[in-house]
């Protein structure tokens, strides 16, 4: 395994909608790890996820993000969104976009083959694709009819979220970022989605779970939990940090208050998790 972390974020500052949303994020995630980012509404959690995926509406004003490709840290922010995806970065959208007229199966096959082609693998034909897809659908209890519907159009909230995790299972990314995948899910759907994510845990894969609620972390147990408040990570710790937050609320960490030891601790916890 490479000694390079999968993702290294250093002093990331991001503007969006005319104001500074991220104000100096430092974060390092190694292969095989599951990190959770928790934070109240408006803390910048989703912005971080979307910036990492390459959404054009944000402006990075400072900082650096390195994404490990072939053992070397690449400048992620210099890559366009499709290059990030082809190198194995996947973001499950908080609000998956409805695309009328584009067949879900057609879209997924085009996406998978774009990724495979870039990675020097043979493109899958329709038969091979269907075989793969059927296996993945079973895990997520997805009905096959969903494949022949337009992407996300007319899907229920739960179907949309499940479709995101299904796409992830098919595309098999190295770095998966789940942006509030739990929001809008009932407990049964949540368990299914979590099961799908847990099935993806692997020594070669890193997962970043962005969530508002601790509930999801009962099912996807993280190695490291970070608390994001007002554009900065104010606390990092083990999975018990999520439980403390659940108990005491985000008010426990006053907005804007930065724990001076947070950066050092989060780096240390990351190392321990990797060890």
């Amino acid at each position: 395994m490479s000694s390079e972390p999968m993702l290294t974020i250093t002093n990331l500052h991001v503007n969006g909608g005319g104001r500074e949303i991220l104000r100096g994020i430092n974060l390092s995630i190694g292969a095989g790890e599951v990190h959770a980012i928790m934070g109240p509404n408006g803390s910048g959690k989703s912005t971080l996820a979307r910036v990492l995926a390459g959404h054009p509406e944000y402006e990075v004003t400072q900082g650096q993000v390195l994404f490990e490709v072939g053992g070397v840290g690449q400048d992620l922010l210099a890559m366009d969104p499709e290059s990030r995806a082809r190198e194995g970065l996947f973001m499950a959208f908080q609000y998956p976009v409805e695309i009328p007229g584009v067949n879900n199966a057609y879209f997924l096959k085009a996406a998978l083959n774009a990724v495979r082609k870039h990675q020097g693998k043979d493109e899958l034909d329709a038969m091979e694709f269907m075989t793969l897809v059927r296996k993945r659908m079973q895990v997520l209890e997805i009905d096959e009819s969903l494949l022949n519907r337009p992407v996300n159009e007319g899907f229920s909230g739960g179907e949309k979220k499940r479709n995101e995790i299904f796409q992830m299972a098919v595309l098999e990314p190295r770095l998966a970022i789940l942006d509030e995948t739990d929001s809008g899910l009932d407990i049964d759907a949540l368990k299914i989605v979590a099961g799908g994510v847990n099935a993806m845990r692997a020594p070669t894969r890193a997962i970043l779970v962005v969530t508002h609620y601790q509930r999801l972390l009962n099912y996807i147990v993280p190695d490291v939990v970070h608390v994001l408040t007002d554009g900065r990570i104010v606390r990092s710790g083990g999975k018990e940090l999520a439980l403390q937050l659940e108990e005491k609320g985000y008010g426990w960490l006053a907005p804007g208050e930065v724990d001076p030891a947070a950066k050092a601790r989060q780096a240390r916890v990351g190392e321990e998790a990797r060890a």
Binding site: P81, V97, P100, V102, A110, A114, V115
Partner: protein
């Protein structure tokens, strides 16, 4: 400007006089009088100005002031290879090819057709069975206030006649291909194609009309100026079904005006699918009169325009009798400095109760400089009807583009996929699958590549 248009009008009138003299005494007298009346009408009307509501956004000055003439020789030479890209001969039961308005027998194919079906040129049927077309030719379209219809009636040299007798079904479509040849240095020419379709009681037929400009390797988009002014007349008899397709792929400097008049009779089913991909100036009029109870009428259209193209679609659905339904879906994709006009008129006559009409038109603007003028025009004189209309003009959905890119699709691929999906909404309504595939290929080939 007026002076230039005036001078242009004189050149068209001179053409009408020359044509009349040339065919003097060789046509049935009913046609001669129809042509004379049309000439008179054209002189009276002149070219429409933008003061007229129907032409408010579409100036015909470029056509009026260009001295288009009819080609001098009977037929310009054309290589079969120029026709091949537009041929549908593997699909069609008959393919009639016209070059610059004149029939090209050597390029046409007529397979064995079911008994009683007549597919031939108007020139030939005017000699052999003029009585078969007399009740319809020029009468379905009438003269009205349409200068270009009058001009066609005065000038048409040839065209296609399709007659399907009662209770006959023709499974394979009939293809009528009008091909124009024009090179950069040629004198600008014009043609006035005419098509007459008569579908007898309980008959079924599909017709494809293609209007194309010949291309060559030196100028793949074509570089000559020409003017096509087509008129199509369709009668859909009691309980008959007609599917009509129009595929317009004129070259970059072409002007194209096409008017289709349809009369539906009791329980008729009529579908029009109009695809407009080429030309510099394009105007399509579809006028459907639902003149019997229980008619089902569908008008669909898709157009793609780039550069400085102008595409104007005017449709009229005239609900003249009760219990008829109409469905209309027009969509446009505009790039560059393209302009489009959509005007969808729905008339519901006083006794046309229980009318059910639905109209939708949408445009996708791919550039800041593209524009569309769109107007539904509902004139409802009955009280127990259901009429809905909706228009939407929008740009490419950036969130959808990002979603596709975030899954690994390239920017160009993502854009094309969305444009295809937008167009697919119209194309997927075409029952004729091979034509759908052809249309998708043309669309893909012509999609603008700008950012």
């Amino acid at each position: 400007m007026t002076g230039v248009v005036e001078a242009g009008l004189h050149s068209y009138i001179a053409e009408i006089e020359r044509a009349g003299a040339a065919r003097s005494g060789r046509e049935p007298s009913w046609l001669t009088s129809a042509r004379e009346e049309a000439s008179e009408r054209f002189r009276t009307l002149g070219f429409p100005s933008t003061n007229e509501e129907e032409w408010r956004f579409t100036s015909v000055a470029p056509i009026a002031k260009t001295g288009f003439t009819r080609p001098a020789e009977l037929r310009s030479a054309i290589a079969p290879s120029s026709v091949t890209p537009f041929s549908l001969s593997t699909l069609a039961s008959a393919e009639l090819v016209f070059v610059n308005g004149r029939y090209a027998a050597g390029l046409s194919i007529i397979r064995t057709l079911p008994r009683g079906i007549r597919v031939e040129t108007l020139a030939s049927v005017l000699v052999s069975h003029p009585d078969q077309i007399e009740p319809y030719l020029t009468r379905v379209a009438g003269l009205g206030r349409q200068a270009f219809t009058a001009l066609n009636t005065a000038l048409f040299a040839d065209g296609a006649f399709v007659h399907v007798p009662a209770s006959v079904t023709l499974d394979a479509p009939i293809h009528v291909l009008f091909i124009s040849t024009a090179r950069g240095n040629d004198v600008p020419t014009m043609s006035h194609p005419r098509v007459l379709v008569v579908a007898g009681e309980s008959s079924h037929v599909s017709i494809i009309e293609s209007y194309v400009g010949a291309r060559d390797d030196a100028s793949p988009r074509g570089d000559g100026a020409y003017f096509t002014n087509a008129v199509t007349e369709v009668i859909v008899g009691d309980n008959a079904s007609v599917e009509h397709y129009k595929l317009q792929q004129e070259t970059a400097r072409a002007s194209h005006i096409a008017t289709m008049h349809v009369i539906g009779q009791r329980n008729a089913r009529f579908q029009s699918h109009s695809l407009s991909f080429g030309g510099s100036f394009v105007r399509n009029d579809v006028i459907a009169v639902l003149d019997g109870e229980g008619i089902d009428c569908t008008l669909n259209g898709l157009y793609l325009a780039d550069d400085r193209q102008l595409v104007d679609n005017h449709t009229t659905i005239d609900h003249a009798r009760p219990h008829c339904g109409s469905r209309e879906m027009y969509k446009g994709i505009l790039a560059g400095h393209a302009r489009a006009v959509f005007n969808g008129k729905i008339v519901v006559r006083p006794d046309a109760q229980k009318t059910d009409a639905k109209q939708t038109n949408k445009a996708l603007l791919l550039s800041e400089d593209a524009q569309i003028n769109t107007k539904p025009q509902l004139e409802i004189f009955a009280n127990d009807v259901k009429c809905t209309h909706g228009a939407a003009v929008g740009q490419m959905d950036d969130e959808a583009i990002f979603y596709l890119r975030a899954r690994g699709l390239g920017l160009a691929e993502a854009r094309n996929l969305l444009i295809h999906a937008f167009a697919g909404d119209v194309l997927n309504r075409m029952p004729l699958e091979p034509l759908r595939t052809r249309a998708e290929a043309v669309l893909l080939q012509q999609l603008p590549n700008e950012g």
